[in-house]
């Protein structure tokens, strides 16, 4: 295969099977990969498609029960299949192959300094002196953009922010100058602004050190911007592979098409269509399976797909896909997987300008007291600082900001579950704090981020959905049952899950159950705190469509908290941008997205990674990470990170300015020129 060209990594015929009680799980099925020196391969797919297992299999880091078989795994000229455990540990893992994991909060050991952890990766093989290793650590920490690297060596992981820890993880992976870097969802746990920085850093370092990289992600935007080639994985197989430009602009496999259709359009302007979605979940390949694994979810499925495994078709030397019926782009309208309401554009009743206010937040502040150490003096942490915000009946108000900006605290204030220091929250003219819990509960309901923790694991789905009726004593057993069934139909939960426990449901199904529980008492306002950020992109689109349908049907109002601006564009009517406890920009969706006034909003918008192959990673122009919330900067709170900051910003506190229907809290607010 391509004898003349150098290959950094070649994997052929890799399969991984894991014996389980219910049968043997075919986690990875006959995978071929070729990676050239200096190239980046993006591996995309939903959770459960075998992406991470593939990476672990290359390094032989699989769980003990798993069985690996392959024709060949060659790293450069070394045969990794032939290498024994000792050789792998001494010469390959951490030395020739570096790895970066998803969760920067847990992948560093909390009891050792980062210096020790960095240096150890080099010295543990006994080939390098501690001084040389330390010099390398300082060099790399500087490379990954941590200021004052020498003093960082003595710091512990808890002293660093999430973005900084991920930088340390990258430095650690690079300590031994690996020829191959495997990054497993390196930016998924990070804010969009930090994501762009980390991706750019990775791309720069890769170029500088001439590494090859395997980038595992579920985010097509990341692949489009960073990778040279892409492999789309589904149920343990690579269903489509090729260069990023080819695959993303001319997808052949219906799964690739489906994934692309699920991503909200990030182009400017009106969103013309409902989001596409891929019904169902990735099947677990247990035991013998026949036919195409995607057949059960495929919109173009034909009889043959269910009986025979589709052959691999080559479109070029490195472009291939697995499908019987690969239609090209001309058939795009019919090929995109959508709900049957696709043709009907979403008619957003939305909120008209005259719509009345359902929930009014007036000059609300909320301060936590944080004590450093046992004897430390408690210091105030102002999570929400003099916020004014109206939620209008029938609208979707999006609240956007980085983690730590106070948006979750604000949502809990609006839910009535967080005490406030000053100000008022009014629900239809009455003070929220004066309402009894049960009356408030009938008007406002939450939907939480993590569907794995928002349902009581010891209750069945029907008990969970009917819980509000039971607590409020509404109806008798028969009417509650009928109502529960109706809600399950409404949110698209099959009736056979009636007696199931949450652990038996997929993430999307759980989120549907949480939605059913929230709407069963017909509330007016739903407060959704990142309801889709824990879900796969295909499931995210289903939940977003469901939320919009429910709004039209039940006349709901949403406060939608998110850090994902591409969702905002699809969903929101109005947008509030929050920074450091304050609303820094507020206005109509079009005003905010097309002509953002505040430099922070601009930075957030620039950080969105739309699926534009080869567009590179944008520079948001944000100076540093999100600051320590205990140290409030003087003057404008944004000035340390602001590209426009001048002396005035450092000394003067900006007041809200209204410009053309949108509010911005900035001394240098952009005028009418387009972004």
């Amino acid at each position: 295969m391509n004898g003349g060209t150098a290959q950094a990594l070649r994997v052929s015929g890799l399969s991984v099977s894991i014996p389980l009680a219910s049968g043997t799980l075919q986690a990875v099925r006959n995978i071929n990969l070729v990676l050239r020196p200096g190239q980046t391969l993006g591996v995309v797919g939903e959770s459960g498609s075998g992406k991470s297992i593939t990476a672990l299999a290359i390094m032989k880091l699989l769980p003990p029960a798993a069985r690996r078989s392959a024709g060949a795994i060659r790293l450069g000229s070394t045969d990794l299949m032939a290498a024994d455990e000792r050789e792998l540990a001494m010469a390959v893992r951490g030395k020739r192959i570096g790895m970066i994991f998803q969760e920067p909060m847990t992948s560093l050991n909390p009891v050792y300094t980062i210096g020790r952890q960095l240096i150890e990766t080099m010295t543990l093989r006994g080939e390098v002196s501690a001084t040389a290793a330390e010099a390398r650590a300082v060099f790399l920490l500087e490379k990954v953009g941590l200021p004052d690297p020498r003093s960082r060596l003595g710091q512990y992981p808890h002293q660093l922010s999430g973005g900084q820890r991920q930088r340390v993880m990258i430095a650690m992976a690079l300590m031994n100058e690996p020829e191959l870097l495997i990054a497993d969802e390196p930016t998924t746990a990070l804010d969009v602004t930090i994501q762009a920085q980390i991706l750019r850093l990775l791309a720069d370092l890769q170029r500088e050190f001439g590494m090859s990289m395997i980038l595992i992600t579920h985010d097509l935007g990341v692949v489009a911007r960073v990778a040279d080639r892409v492999a789309v994985m589904y149920a343990g197989e690579i269903v489509e592979t090729g260069t990023v430009a080819e695959v993303l602009s001319d997808p052949r496999h219906p799964y690739t098409r489906g994934l692309l259709a699920c991503v909200p359009d990030t182009g400017n302007g009106e969103n013309p269509r409902r989001l596409g979605s891929i019904p169902g979940i990735v099947p677990s390949m247990i035991g013998d399976t026949t036919g195409c694994a995607f057949a059960s979810r495929c919109p173009r499925v034909v009889a043959r797909c269910r009986v025979a495994h589709p052959p691999r078709r080559d479109l070029g030397p490195e472009r291939s896909f697995l499908c019987f019926d690969p239609r090209t782009t001309d058939a795009n309208a019919s090929a995109v997987i959508t709900d049957n309401e696709t043709a009907v554009p979403r008619i957003a009743p939305g909120a008209t300008a005259a719509a009345d206010t359902i929930l009014a937040v007036r000059d609300v502040s909320c301060t936590f007291r944080v004590r450093r150490g046992f004897f430390g003096r408690p210091r105030p942490l102002r999570a929400v600082d003099h916020v004014d915000l109206d939620v209008r009946r029938g609208e979707v108000l999006a609240l956007v900001g980085e983690s730590g900006c106070g948006k979750t605290t604000l949502s809990r204030i609006m839910l009535g579950s967080q005490r406030i220091d000053s100000g008022d929250v009014m629900l239809d003219g009455t003070l929220l704090s004066a309402l009894p819990d049960k009356q408030r509960a009938r008007r406002i309901q939450p939907i939480f981020q993590d569907p794995y923790s928002s349902l009581n694991p010891r209750r069945t789905i029907s008990e969970i959905i009917a819980q509000p009726l039971r607590v409020h004593g509404i109806g008798d057993a028969a009417s509650r049952l009928a109502q529960t069934e109706r809600m399950m139909d409404l949110v698209g939960l099959p009736r056979r899950l009636f007696h199931s426990y949450p652990s038996q449901l997929s993430g999307g199904q759980r989120q549907r159950a949480a939605i059913a529980r929230a709407i069963i008492m017909a509330p007016d306002l739903l407060i959704c705190d990142e309801p889709t950020s824990a879900l796969d992109v295909s499931v995210q689109s289903q939940i977003l469509n469901l939320l919009l349908d429910l709004r039209d049907e039940l006349h709901l109002t949403y406060l939608f908290i998110t850090h994902n601006l591409s969702i905002v564009r699809y969903l929101a009517d109005r947008i509030a941008v929050m920074y450091f406890g304050q609303i820094v920009e507020l206005g109509d969706k079009h005003a905010v997205l097309e002509n953002p006034r505040h430099p922070y909003t601009r930075a957030l918008l620039k950080s969105i990674l739309s699926i534009t192959p080869g567009a590179g990673i944008p520079d948001a122009g944000l100076g540093a990470d999100f600051p320590n919330p205990l140290d409030v900067p003087r003057g404008c709170r944004f000035h340390p990170r602001c590209p426009l900051a001048d002396d005035r910003c450092r000394n003067e506190v900006p007041q809200p300015v209204w410009l053309g229907g949108a509010m911005a809290r900035c001394l240098q607010a952009y005028g009418d020129e387009k972004c």
């Binding site: 059960s296 509960a441 923790s453």
Partner: protein, 316 residues
């Protein structure tokens, strides 16, 4: 209301469907109810069945002791003291398990002793369970001052010599089986408290508790209906341990003369009384010891079985 369209994950490939293929046909498309799933699992759970069988058998024996036992357990016959069981040299068929140091029939005492031991085991473990779980829920859920107070009580309890406390209580109340149950129960709640508190601390941060609060549940409802079922697993395990523990404690108390007052037969007391002659007449200790051992094993099997059968996710 028109049917919704976004019914994404309806189709195939669902784990629940794989678990119970019969679910769709029975029960009107709702799948099996938790009770019927538990019954199904119980039918295939050998450990649970064995544990259940042994405990039921012992309970029946305890109930029927007056009819089953060949002699009056209190009747002394000093002429026939310390007879060995039938299978040892010198044993005879009149006293199947021999006699004790006062010439009382050992089998009859063992049968009657089952009553006292079962009562003490379950009674004391239940008292401790109620105290410990209640305090643990309060401390874990409310935190702050309440947690500090309860922790202080716990520390006092741990620092205080048990025996002193028990001796004082028994002295004041006078020795009787009820007093022994209450006293052992009152001194065996630390495990419950520690485990319940630690689990509650984790659970109260989860979103389903926040959701319950948003629905308008009272604190008591949240503690009892949301948190308690999630602690139940651990509580069952501790309960089974504490039942055995309580019966052994009773033995220790009886040995010191603080437990079950002398003529009443209990397994603990029998071990205590036999201890002196352990090296010469081992059956005095071995026979009640085996009974206690079998009962504790059965309780543990039962506890594990209940946990497996009621667990929401199927771990077999």
């Amino acid at each position: 209301m028109k049917p919704m369209t976004a019914t994404g994950e309806l189709a195939q490939s669902d784990r629940t469907a794989a678990v119970d293929p019969a679910a769709v046909t029975e029960d009107g498309g709702h799948g099996l109810s938790p009770a019927s799933i538990a019954r199904r699992r119980a039918r295939s759970h050998t450990g649970l069945q064995i544990g259940c069988f042994i405990i039921l058998a012992i309970a029946i024996i305890a109930l029927l002791a007056p009819w089953l036992s060949p002699f009056d357990p209190y009747a002394q016959n000093l002429a026939e003291r310390l007879l060995p069981p039938v299978w040892v040299n010198g044993g005879n068929w009149t006293h199947l398990l021999g006699t004790d140091h006062l010439g009382r029939d050992y089998l009859s005492r063992l049968l009657y002793g089952a009553r006292v031991s079962l009562g003490i085991g379950f009674g004391a473990a239940s008292i401790g369970c109620v105290i410990g779980v209640a305090l643990g829920l309060l401390a874990g859920y409310f935190g702050g001052r309440i947690d500090q107070v309860i922790n202080f009580v716990l520390n006092c309890k741990l620092a205080m010599p048990h025996l002193l406390l028990i001796m004082a209580l028994v002295f004041v109340l006078g020795p009787s089986v009820t007093v022994v149950v209450v006293v052992i129960g009152m001194t065996h709640w630390t495990f419950y408290l520690l485990v319940t508190r630690a689990t509650t601390l984790q659970l109260r941060e989860l979103d389903f508790v926040a959701a319950a609060r948003a629905i308008g549940c009272s604190r008591l409802q949240i503690m009892l209906r949301e948190i308690l079922p999630n602690v139940a697993n651990q509580i069952i395990v501790i309960f089974t341990l504490e039942v055995g523990n309580a019966m052994l404690s009773e033995a220790a108390l009886s040995f010191l003369g603080l437990g079950v007052p002398a003529p009443i037969p209990s397994w603990g007391l029998m071990i205590a009384e036999g201890k002196a002659a352990m090296f010469f007449r081992p059956w005095l200790v071995v026979i009640p010891g085996i009974a206690l051992f079998v009962l504790v094993i059965a309780i543990n099997l039962l506890g594990d079985g209940i946990r497996d059968v009621t667990a929401p996710d199927r771990r077999t």
